[in-house]
C-alpha cells in the first residue's frame, strides 16, 4: 500500500514537472486574440515563422469585439480588430493600432443566366437592394446600369451576415457612405438592424444561402468568392469606373489612401477615389499597449509583425489577402517607437 502511494506521488511529481516545462515553453509563444477575418493568414505566417525562428504564435480568433476586450484587459500581448478603434478610444485605453493586412468584400449573386462579372451595380443601387427598396432583378435601376444584360423578374433575396463581423462593418460603412438613406436608417457597425432579407452565419453561410436561393444576392470576403467560384458582381467606384474585384483593385484602394495623416491609422478604405479602386476594401488592425506590462513579449510580437510585413507578402497573396504597401510599413515601424517599457526605452529599438 505504502509502495503504491509512493509510486503515485512520484508519478504526480513527474507530471507536475512536465506541466511546468510545457508552460514555460508556452510562455515563449506570442499570444494574441481577435478578428476572425485575418485568421487564415496569421496562422500561415505563424507556421512559417515558427519553422524559421522557433517562436510560435497562439492566436485565438474569437472576433474583433473579443480581441478588443482581451487587449484592454491585458490578457493577451496583442489584440486584432477588423474595425479600427477611434483615436480617442486608443488614448483612453493606452493603445496603439496599426494595419496588418487588407482584404476586400465582394457582392455575389445567383441570377439565372448571369455569369460572374457580367452584372455591375453602383453603391446606391446596392444600398437600395439591402433596404428592400428594389425587390426585383429587372428593376429599372438595375437595368439602367446593365443595358446589355437580360434580367429576369425574379424577386431579390438579400442575404446578410447574421454574426457580428468585420465584413459587415466594411459593407455597411460603404453603403452608408454612398447612400444617405442607408446611413440614416441603418448605419454602419459589425451588426446592424437589417430591414429585410435573410441572415446567414459566417461567410460559408452567406455563400451557401446565395448559391441555393434563386435570385439571391450576398456579400463575402474576396477569398471566399474566388475559391468557391461564385458569381461576383462588378461595382462602379467613386470615380465612376467599373471595377472587378481582384487583388490589384484592392491594392489600388490602399495605395490611394492617406495613411500618413490618419491619426492612429483610423482609416477605413471603403469608397476610395482612384480609377482602379475597389470600393469595399478594408484593413485588419493590430492593437498593442503603449506601455506594455511585459515588454519582452511585445518585442517578440513586433519582431513577428516586422517579419510578416517583409517576407509574408507572397503568402498573403496566395490566400487572396492584400499585403500592406511598403510606404505604410515604414510608417508603422516608426509608430512602434511609441511603445515603451517601464524604463522609458522604446521596445522596438531594443529589438533591432
Amino acid at each position: 500500500m505504502y509502495q503504491f502511494t509512493k509510486k503515485i506521488a512520484q508519478a504526480a511529481m513527474t507530471m507536475a514537472a512536465v506541466a511546468t516545462l510545457s508552460t514555460a515553453a508556452m510562455a515563449a509563444d506570442i499570444s494574441g486574440a481577435g478578428a476572425t477575418f485575418p485568421y487564415p493568414i496569421y496562422a500561415k505566417w505563424a507556421d512559417a515563422y515558427k519553422k524559421e525562428t522557433g517562436v510560435g504564435l497562439n492566436y485565438q480568433s474569437i472576433g474583433s469585439g473579443g480581441g478588443i476586450k482581451q487587449i484592454t484587459a491585458k490578457t493577451v500581448t496583442f489584440g486584432a480588430s477588423d474595425q479600427p478603434l477611434k483615436p480617442e478610444d486608443l488614448d483612453k485605453n493606452g493603445l496603439i493600432q496599426f494595419p496588418m493586412v487588407m482584404g476586400g468584400v465582394v457582392p455575389v449573386a445567383n441570377i439565372k443566366g448571369v455569369k460572374p462579372g457580367e452584372l455591375k451595380l453602383d453603391g446606391a443601387t446596392l444600398a437600395d437592394i439591402y433596404m428592400g427598396k428594389i425587390s426585383k432583378w429587372n428593376d429599372a435601376a438595375i437595368q439602367k446600369l446593365n443595358p446589355d444584360v437580360k434580367l429576369p423578374s425574379t424577386a431579390i433575396a438579400a442575404v446578410y451576415r447574421s454574426d457580428g463581423s468585420g465584413t459587415n462593418f466594411l459593407f455597411t460603412t460603404y453603403l452608408s457612405q454612398v447612400s444617405p438613406a442607408f446611413k440614416e436608417n441603418i448605419g454602419a457597425a459589425t451588426s446592424v438592424e437589417w430591414p429585410s432579407g435573410i441572415g446567414a452565419k459566417g461567410n460559408e453561410g452567406v455563400a451557401g444561402m446565395t448559391t441555393q436561393t434563386d435570385g439571391a444576392i450576398g456579400y463575402v470576403e474576396y477569398a471566399f468568392a474566388k475559391q468557391n467560384k461564385m458569381t461576383y458582381l462588378n461595382l462602379i467606384n467613386k470615380d465612376g469606373k467599373v471595377v472587378e474585384p481582384k487583388s490589384t483593385s484592392f491594392q489600388a484602394a490602399a495605395a490611394g489612401a492617406d495613411w500618413a495623416n490618419a491619426k492612429g491609422y483610423y482609416l477605413v478604405l471603403t469608397n476610395q477615389s482612384g480609377a482602379d479602386s475597389w470600393p469595399i476594401t478594408g484593413a485588419s488592425f493590430i492593437l498593442i499597449h503603449r506601455q506594455p506590462q511585459n515588454p519582452a513579449a511585445v518585442q517578440d510580437a513586433l519582431k513577428f509583425f516586422a517579419w510578416a510585413y517583409k517576407g509574408g507578402a507572397k503568402m498573403a497573396d496566395e490566400l487572396d489577402y492584400v499585403p500592406m504597401p511598403g510606404s505604410v510599413v515604414s510608417l508603422v515601424e516608426k509608430t512602434w517607437g511609441e511603445i515603451k517599457g517601464a524604463d522609458g526605452k522604446a521596445v522596438w529599438m531594443a529589438a533591432k
Binding site: 457597425a189 446567414a200 444561402m209
Partner: protein, 328 residues
C-alpha cells in the same frame, strides 16, 4: 494467559480498524457533499453574474426590453420581443411535430414491435441524441432547407393561398430557411429525448391492467388511449418538458437555419431569430457596454424560461412517482 493477551491485541486492532473506517466514511461523506454543494455554488454564481451583467441594459430599457421589437446595435436600442417570440414559436413547432411522432415510436416500441426489433430500434433513436447539434445545423442548411424551399414551402403557400388566416401564416417567398425550418429541425432533435422518457413510462404500466383490458376485448388503440396514456399521463408531461427544455436552449442548429432576423413576421416561413441564436451570432463582435449587457440580459431571460420549464417537469415527475405508489 497468552490466549487472553492475543485476543486483547486482536480486539485493539479491530477497534483501530473500525475507527479508521469510520474516518474514511466521514471523509467520503464530506467529499461527496462538497461536490453536490459545488453544483449549487456554480448555479448561484451563474445567476449572479447573469443578473449583474444584464443590469445596465435592464436599467436603461426597463420593462420595454421585453416588449420592444427593435434591435439596433448602431443606435443602441435593444428589445427582446423578436427573440422571445422566435424561441417560443420554434419550440412550439418542435413540440407539435415531436410529440406525436415520439408517442408513436414509444407505443410501437412498447406495445407493437416484435421482440427482436425493440432493442436495435430503441438504440437507433437514442443515437439521434448523440449527433452534435452543429451537424443538424449544417444538414439543415445544405440539405433540409433546399428541400423545403423546392418542395414543401411552395406547396404550403399554394395550398393555403385562399384560406383566410392561414394564408398569412404560410405567406411566401419560400426562402427555405426560417421559423418553420428551425422548428422542424428542433422537432427532430427532441425526438430521442421525448421518446426515451415516454418509452420508459409506458413500460411502467402493469401488465395486469393491459391484459385485463385486452381480456375484455379492447383493441390496441383502446388499450393505448384508455389504459396506457391515462396511467402514465404525468410522466408523459415530464418527458415533453425535458424535450421542450432542450428545444428552448438549442443554439447552433437553429442559428444555421432560422434566418437570423430580429423581426416578428406573421408568416412562419419568414426568417426570425431566437434568444440563443442572437447571443451566438452577436456576442463575439459586440462592442460597447449596453450591447454586451443586452445580450447577457437575453441569456438571463432564456435562463428564466428554461428554469421554469424544467421546474415544472420536476414537479410533475415527483407527482407521477407518488401516484404510481398509490395506484398499484
Amino acid at each position: 494467559m497468552s490466549q487472553q493477551a492475543e485476543s486483547m491485541a486482536l480486539s485493539a486492532e479491530i477497534q483501530q480498524r473500525i475507527q479508521r473506517q469510520r474516518m474514511l466514511d466521514r471523509a467520503f461523506r464530506a467529499v461527496t457533499m462538497f461536490f453536490a454543494l459545488l453544483v449549487l455554488v456554480i448555479l448561484g454564481a451563474i445567476i449572479i453574474s447573469l443578473v449583474e451583467g444584464s443590469l445596465p441594459a435592464l436599467k436603461k430599457f426597463g420593462w420595454n426590453f421585453l416588449t420592444t421589437e427593435r434591435w439596433n446595435p448602431v443606435t443602441e436600442v435593444f428589445g427582446a420581443r423578436a427573440p422571445i417570440y422566435g424561441t417560443l414559436m420554434t419550440s412550439a413547432i418542435a413540440m407539435i411535430v415531436g410529440i406525436p411522432v415520439s408517442f408513436g415510436i414509444a407505443i410501437f416500441l412498447t406495445e407493437l414491435a416484435p421482440e427482436w426489433l425493440k432493442r436495435p430500434m430503441g438504440t437507433a433513436i437514442e443515437l439521434l441524441a448523440g449527433i452534435p447539434s452543429i451537424i443538424y445545423g449544417i444538414w439543415g442548411l445544405f440539405v433540409f432547407a433546399p428541400f423545403l424551399q423546392r418542395n414543401i414551402q411552395p406547396l404550403l403557400i399554394a395550398v393555403f393561398e385562399d384560406v383566410p388566416v392561414l394564408n398569412t401564416f404560410f405567406a411566401g417567398p419560400p426562402y427555405g430557411i426560417g421559423i418553420l425550418t428551425a422548428g422542424l429541425i428542433l422537432g427532430i432533435m427532441v425526438l430521442p429525448f421525448i421518446t426515451s422518457v415516454t418509452r420508459d413510462v409506458f413500460e411502467t404500466v402493469p401488465a395486469l391492467l393491459k391484459e385485463s383490458a385486452y381480456g375484455l376485448g379492447a383493441t390496441t388503440w383502446e388499450v393505448v388511449w384508455q389504459i396506457v396514456i391515462p396511467y402514465t399521463r404525468v410522466g408523459l408531461v415530464g418527458g415533453i418538458m425535458l424535450g421542450l427544455g432542450r428545444a428552448l436552449g438549442e443554439t447552433m442548429a437553429v442559428t444555421f437555419v432560422i434566418g437570423n432576423a430580429h423581426r416578428i413576421s406573421p408568416s412562419i416561413l419568414a426568417p426570425g431569430t431566437t434568444i440563443s441564436a442572437s447571443i451566438a451570432n452577436e456576442f463575439t463582435e459586440a462592442v460597447g457596454d449596453i450591447y454586451t449587457s443586452a445580450l447577457v440580459a437575453l441569456g438571463l431571460l432564456l435562463f428564466v424560461i428554461t428554469f421554469t420549464v424544467l421546474a415544472m417537469a420536476k414537479i410533475m415527475l415527483i407527482r407521477m412517482q407518488r401516484n404510481a405508489g398509490t395506484r398499484t
